[in-house]
Symmetry: C2
């Protein structure tokens, strides 16, 4: 019986490791890990995490324009953080949100219109919640390779924009269609977001 239980456990663990789940749930493998010089290690299995949404050519600036080049943004979150959000409506410590930017194509194989995603990864950013590590609890990291990413300085515009406009805990849950209803039901929408969505635009 002991052998059966152990073998089942080992088989299960072997099956799960490729998906980023570790045997030791106290230190989940999908949480943030850092290099000795405080860079964020590339989360190699993020494409096997939970998908939150995909957008194309989104811009928060009224002046932007990218008429000649389209890009998709895919957002993933580590499974432990997703599970906590579903239960509570907000993010736990050690949350990692990955924004992957990919090229968009129109003509290819039998496709004639619209856009599909191609194999060119054009960028990656990670938003990490690590309460003991960052004074504002969250930090952004920008990746130029698949080894480690640069910490974005605390004064950068992304921090203030997320603080001022994000629906939940400095994250843009308003653009994550399966999570927004959970936050609404749990009452975790930020005061700033609630004010923005209920106040009519200035004349």
């Amino acid at each position: 019986m002991l052998t059966v239980a152990r073998n089942t456990l080992l088989a299960l663990a072997t099956f799960l490791v490729p998906f980023g789940f570790g045997q030791d749930t106290a230190t989940p493998k999908s949480g943030p890990q850092y290099t000795a010089d405080s860079r964020l290690k590339f989360p190699g299995k993020f494409r096997e995490w939970i998908f939150l949404t995909s957008g194309i050519d989104m811009s928060y600036s009224p002046m932007s324009g990218m008429a000649d080049h389209s890009m998709f943004d895919n957002v993933f979150v580590n499974p432990e953080a997703y599970k906590a959000f579903v239960e509570t409506g907000t993010w736990p410590d050690k949350t990692m949100l990955v924004l992957e930017t990919r090229g968009a194509q129109t003509k290819g194989s039998i496709n004639h219109s619209g856009h599909y995603q191609d194999s060119e990864v054009m960028g990656m950013e990670v938003h990490v919640k690590d309460e003991a590590r960052f004074p504002g609890k969250w930090a952004f990291f920008d990746f130029e390779n698949t080894v480690s990413g640069n910490l974005v300085p605390a004064g950068a515009a992304c921090y203030s924009c997320h603080a001022e406009h994000a629906a939940v805990d400095t994250t843009f849950v308003q653009f994550y269609p399966t999570l927004l209803p959970i936050a609404q039901a749990k009452g975790t929408l930020s005061p700033a977001y609630l004010k923005e969505t209920t106040t009519p635009p200035a004349k």
Copy 2:
């Protein structure tokens, strides 16, 4: 020791069930399940499966046009099938590919351009590989609710289009950017797809 092993196993199983992984790997919970009248049961946890890609307004017909209404398509696959594809370059029995269609919005919150996904699910189709059940090994099911889906008859155009143009085993892996390189490396691209991609267009 037996108690420790059993408790660890139970704790792990409790943690995993929300993500669609079952304790009994011989009958994975993410495989297809049918009603008594041969409809496919709705895979309720598909948003927690592996994301393959997202497209917008894609069309395989040169004549199509949807200028006044945009939609995203998100594709997910059950984790067991994904794991097998990564290892072999093709799909195992009991593969389920889910195509979720969602509304696309432009103006909302602080977004000004491009498109993001909204909460309106406009349709869902599932492509199932069940070798013992379907004469062609694969079948399509169309969902109009979140209970069960209708089998698409074998003579429908989707079957012949997938057979004639799909990159791997009647599936459009040419539009799944992380899987296409695996199929290329494993040599599992279909003869029809290889011919299509190497033959110059007729003059």
